[in-house]
């Protein structure tokens, strides 16, 4: 008797099983805990408690604000960097780009530790004492520092693809430098902006390592919130995780929508 024929499709079985057990199942478990009470009976208790508690809602809003500020600052710094590098005629501009990415090779937590030490040193200088308690400033600085490469790289790659003749054509047709920038560079680099924004916005809303280490435990973002609840109330922890999940998927879906529209426009050209 012959063995069943080996099929290439069967190769996906181990990964599919892995995903079912360690990705799909955990999501279902979160969902289950979010809508049950201590006796594991179905309940909207956590849901109601969450949406009627002003402190929880304000934490979410202010996580969003911190993430928004971080993202805007990253964009304001990364856009000129990517633009200058992408349009530079320097032969070794790749090395300069690498300089922006290299710090990522240092352990993330150690990098934040280094920023903390730098701030401690600065705060001990004369007239810089205000830094010691500037928890929000330090948190946002740390986040911008850590997530900047995620913004620079996609921007640089999309700007590199912009055909130089488009700039020349725009100038020949009488557009000023500013008009060229806003009507040629910005629209054509939109896919890079979108992927950079998602790559910075989501972690800066949830990565509590930075806010914990630099904010002196005074800055509570939504990620920290979940981990605090994990210790005593799984149902509430799961509910917040579920809300975060919805926010994350909504924002990805929205930016994904932008991206596919961009692609459609790109192919129609």
């Amino acid at each position: 008797m012959k063995l069943p024929r080996f099929s290439r499709k069967t190769l996906c079985i181990p990964y599919a099983v892995f995903l079912v057990f360690f990705v799909v199942l955990p999501m279902l478990v979160i969902f289950f805990y979010a809508f049950t009470d201590e006796n594991l009976h179905p309940s909207f208790g956590a849901f109601i408690k969450f949406f009627s508690d002003p402190t929880k809602l304000s934490t979410i809003v202010y996580s969003l604000v911190i993430a928004l500020i971080t993202t805007i600052l990253c964009l304001l710094i990364a856009y000129p960097v990517a633009y200058i590098l992408a349009r530079s005629k320097m032969k070794k501009k790749f090395i300069i780009l690498m300089l922006f990415v290299l710090p990522m090779w240092i352990n993330f937590v150690l990098r934040v530790n280094a920023i903390r030490e730098l701030f401690n040193l600065l705060a001990s200088l004369k007239g810089m004492g205000w830094l010691a308690s500037a928890n929000y400033f330090k948190t946002v600085f740390g986040m911008v520092y850590d997530f900047l490469p995620f913004m620079i790289l996609p921007l640089y790659t999309t700007m590199l693809k912009i055909d130089n003749s488009l700039y020349e054509a725009s100038a020949d047709l009488g557009a000023s430098a500013a008009t060229t920038f806003f009507r040629v560079t910005v629209p054509l680099s939109m896919p890079g902006i979108m992927s950079g924004v998602t790559m910075v916005f989501l972690p800066s809303m949830t990565n509590y390592v930075v806010s914990d280490m630099l904010g002196n435990a005074k800055v509570t973002i939504i990620g920290k919130f979940i981990s605090d609840y994990f210790g005593n109330d799984w149902h509430m922890g799961s509910m917040i995780a579920l809300v975060l999940l919805v926010v994350v998927f909504l924002s990805t879906w929205l930016s994904g929508g932008f991206k596919s529209e961009e692609n459609v426009r790109g192919t129609s050209l």
Partner: protein, 271 residues
């Protein structure tokens, strides 16, 4: 060159330089103080290699470094095998099946790490798995494998599919054809997936924190705890990690510079 463009150039160089200086200031500070006799930042007491010596002699430091790198290596190898095999399988699946697996595979990529970590931890408790090295490995594989799939997939799409058919026509078994024909064509994607997995695992704090067995410390978990609730004792170990970071960073900078310069040279020779 007229005055205007010169001023423009200077402004551009100044901006790039300023961002780079701010970017490297903390790292520089850390590197300088890794050579300090004491372990307090702020006052430099004298040049010493104490912290570098501790890297090779302090068993606690060595243990944590070993833990971190062994875990990253194991997680990356397992994720690369699982992800590569999975990506090849997915590539040949029917369209709908492919979309479903791909969609699920994206979840850990876009999800907040804390949500992934919490969900895994709760699930482990629910199915009666105590946190152990096994759960830690699973946790790291969950965050690494999707990135391996993402870096292998484009290579599969670029692959010349007729070569596989040709191998079958010439009498190779499907398994042999995959090993000898498909794999060599996607190997760049596999390697970059592996590298990505290593860096993701090395950097991870949140998932490690939720899935590690009691008493298991990586560099990340130790530094986090030492920074948020540190004492004089932890400061000594922290300084050793600064020393380690300095060494790793110098090696990487040298590697990048040398590979770039030799690349330039080669290109020139090719011409």
């Amino acid at each position: 060159m007229n005055k205007h463009t010169l001023r423009n150039k200077c402004l551009k160089a100044f901006f790039i330089g300023l961002v780079l200086v701010i970017l490297y200031l903390p790292i520089l500070l850390l590197a300088i103080y890794s050579f300090d006799k004491t372990n307090m930042i702020g006052k430099f007491e004298g040049f010493s290699l104490t912290h570098y010596r501790a890297l090779f002699t302090d068993s606690k430091v060595l243990g944590m470094i070993g833990n971190t790198f062994l875990l990253a290596f194991l997680a990356a190898v397992l994720s690369t095998v699982l992800g590569t095999v999975g990506a090849i399988g997915m590539f040949y699946c029917k369209k709908r099946m492919k979309a479903v697996i791909h969609g699920v595979s994206q979840i850990p990529v876009i999800n907040a790490e804390i949500v992934t970590a919490l969900a895994l931890a709760v699930t482990f408790v629910l199915i009666g798995l105590k946190t152990s090295y096994f759960t830690l490995l699973i946790g790291h594989m969950v965050i690494c494998t999707p990135f391996v799939v993402l870096s292998v997939m484009p290579k599969l799409k670029q692959m010349d599919n007729s070569l596989y058919e040709a191998a079958l026509d010439l009498g190779a078994s499907p398994f042999k054809a995959i090993m000898k024909v498909v794999l060599p064509q996607i190997i760049p994607g596999v390697i970059s997936g592996f590298m990505l997995a290593v860096t993701l695992s090395l950097d991870d704090y949140i998932v490690t924190m939720y899935t590690r067995p009691a008493g298991f410390e990586t560099i990340s978990t130790y530094v986090y705890n030492a920074t948020t609730k540190g004492n004089a004792h932890t400061a000594v170990t922290l300084s050793s990690f600064w020393a380690l970071t300095t060494i790793i960073f110098v090696v990487i900078v040298l590697f990048v510079l040398i590979s770039n310069l030799s690349g330039l040279k080669k290109r020139r020779e090719d011409r």
